[in-house]
Symmetry: C2
Subunit: 350 residues, 2 copies
């Protein structure tokens, strides 16, 4: 009988944040690809695009004019998925037909007035401004009495449903704890109750010793490919200090967070020498006015690409119906990311 090798043999791994297993089939990366290819992001965009509804001073489709902003710029989403208004609701739910109205606020954050930049190409000081706006928004939205959770995220690239290349992210703030947050909180909480310590702190400290899945580290943050990562080049930024949300971040930590976001996204761009698509977002404690010692600030990056700038991983039939599945081991991905240069490929001197 062959000795088990996690870079060769099919196996399952456990995700303690979601209490779910995923299937790893590392040998499968060898199959030839005959499927769909994605379009490559258009390069050489202008610094200001007259037709972009996010550019400084331009008019949006609903007729509202953007400020002539020069830094990070926030406004309420013109096509919000959530609405502020309370509605009059008669609860006729039974067991199998449960429904409840949901209130919330959706915002858009332009990271920079420059249409042709993305996070990896921005100055660290400008990324710091974005982090500060995230903090302000978390405080402002979270302090409204009907808001109990604030989801900060970015969809980057058309393959991630992003309709505009102008560097921007979103915030969806709402009354209920969303499904993934509730699950994560439940697992963080039961670990905390049992061990009186943060699951993620205990986890990343072991990772720092093992050095198998760590991609980048600075004084205040670690980037790693989680042991249970689903997407081929999925990573997580974890704060070294155990704090629950962005309000607790010191100035030093804010700078270190901006730095590590830049470093990580440069590596991503360098991987396939393309503007690397992903959905990324912060997971942190709810704003529900309850103490949350179990929460540990972290940011997930879920990038779809698998083999090249144009071939993504499809999470489809088996994955939707049965279980998430990956075709390369987290250790292999971490090694590839770790060894990529720190300098953005576009600024390379030949």
């Amino acid at each position: 009988m062959q000795q088990f090798n996690h870079n060769e043999h099919p196996h399952r791994r456990y995700n303690p944040l979601l209490d779910e297993w995923i299937l790893v089939s590392p040998h499968r990366a060898k199959r030839p690809w005959q499927g769909q290819n994605e379009k490559i992001a258009e390069e050489n965009r202008p610094e200001h695009d007259e037709n972009c509804y996010l550019c400084s001073g331009n008019v949006r489709s609903n007729g509202v004019k953007n400020d002539n902003y020069t830094d990070c710029y926030v406004f309420e989403n013109d096509f919000s998925a959530l609405l502020r208004d309370e509605v009059d609701f008669e609860n006729n739910s039974n067991n199998l037909f449960q429904l409840k109205p949901e209130r919330g606020i959706n915002k858009v954050i332009c990271f920079s007035p420059k249409h042709n930049l993305t996070l990896p190409e921005m100055e660290v000081s400008d990324i710091e401004k974005v982090v500060k706006v995230w903090k302000e928004q978390y405080i402002e939205l979270g302090s409204q009495d009907f808001i109990n959770y604030v989801q900060i995220f970015e969809n980057k690239g058309s393959v991630m449903g992003c309709s505009n290349p102008h560097p921007h992210g979103q915030i969806w703030a709402q009354s209920s704890l969303p499904t993934q947050i509730e699950k994560t909180q439940k697992n963080l909480r039961s670990y905390y109750d049992k061990n009186q310590s943060s699951l993620l702190k205990d986890y990343f400290e072991q990772e720092l010793k093992l050095q198998e899945r760590v991609v980048i580290e600075n004084d205040h943050f670690v980037v790693l490919v989680p042991f249970w990562a689903t997407w081929p080049y999925e990573t997580m930024i974890v704060s070294k200090r155990h704090f629950g949300n962005i309000i607790a971040m010191t100035n030093d930590e804010t700078k270190a967070f901006a730095e590590i976001i830049k470093e990580l996204t440069i590596k991503y761009d360098n991987l396939f020498e393309t503007s690397f698509p992903y959905s990324a977002g912060i997971h942190q404690s709810p704003t529900d006015r309850v103490s949350h010692p179990e929460w540990h600030f972290h940011m997930h990056f879920y990038p779809p690409l698998l083999r090249s700038a144009t071939v993504k991983k499809f999470m489809v039939g088996y994955e939707m119906l049965a279980e998430a599945q990956r075709d390369i081991s987290p250790e292999q991905s971490a090694k590839i990311l770790r060894e990529l240069p720190h300098q953005h490929y576009k600024t390379k001197i030949n």
Copy 2:
């Protein structure tokens, strides 16, 4: 205060199969779409394609020649995600680093020798043959002692990661219960233990009374847009009789199942007058030699399209990090599907 209206106001619905909530934002379908467009499936394919590795008598990339098959044809996947072999494994798992080897078998099923057909264009009698092969495979694979679960599914269309338009599906059979199956089973079981009846039977019987989300019905099956559907045109085929897996299906039920698959997929093709992409698969009892009175045979269809043949729903940032979200109410989708013609648009006489 406005009266709540589920076709207008944001709300959340509960999925009792997965014990999860989803966000419904029906007003959001109004936003303009400026994002990515999908490629339209190539039409006018030949009945036999020399370059197709699934066509009858052709040689696959690993050098194996397909039989000169004339009906449904099954073979083992050349690039299996799961492998049969047992491996020698030393368990060093701890709490936060849990891993175990997984064994299994992957098969490919060509639904028809005709390269240019898809399920909605096949004869009912030929779809019946496919259902019979599913049954045979469930029995054959499930009887192997290291197989405890058999996932039968189809990825259709390049947007669903399908690399070949030849009509085909897959089967992944394995030792463990995959994540989604374990969750579903847990919820079916606790309902069954409490009520001594099938959750899905109690559910579809209420749906038949309400007639708001039912799309098609015949003597033995119902197609409905679940109250908690995630994808814009998601549907579920449920057997009217309570049985746990495909082995229990009578001849009449087999025929009725083939008929309703054809009717549903014709409606799907007619929706945007395109070969409608989806991932679909059967959920049924595991083959773990344990009694499963809680299971109720059903088939999920998860189609990605939202607005047209080229605009899909992106399940990205908010959806990946927080909660699944839909932009049209399940009732609106059901009505649209219900009112579509029964005849395939390609056979329409002008």
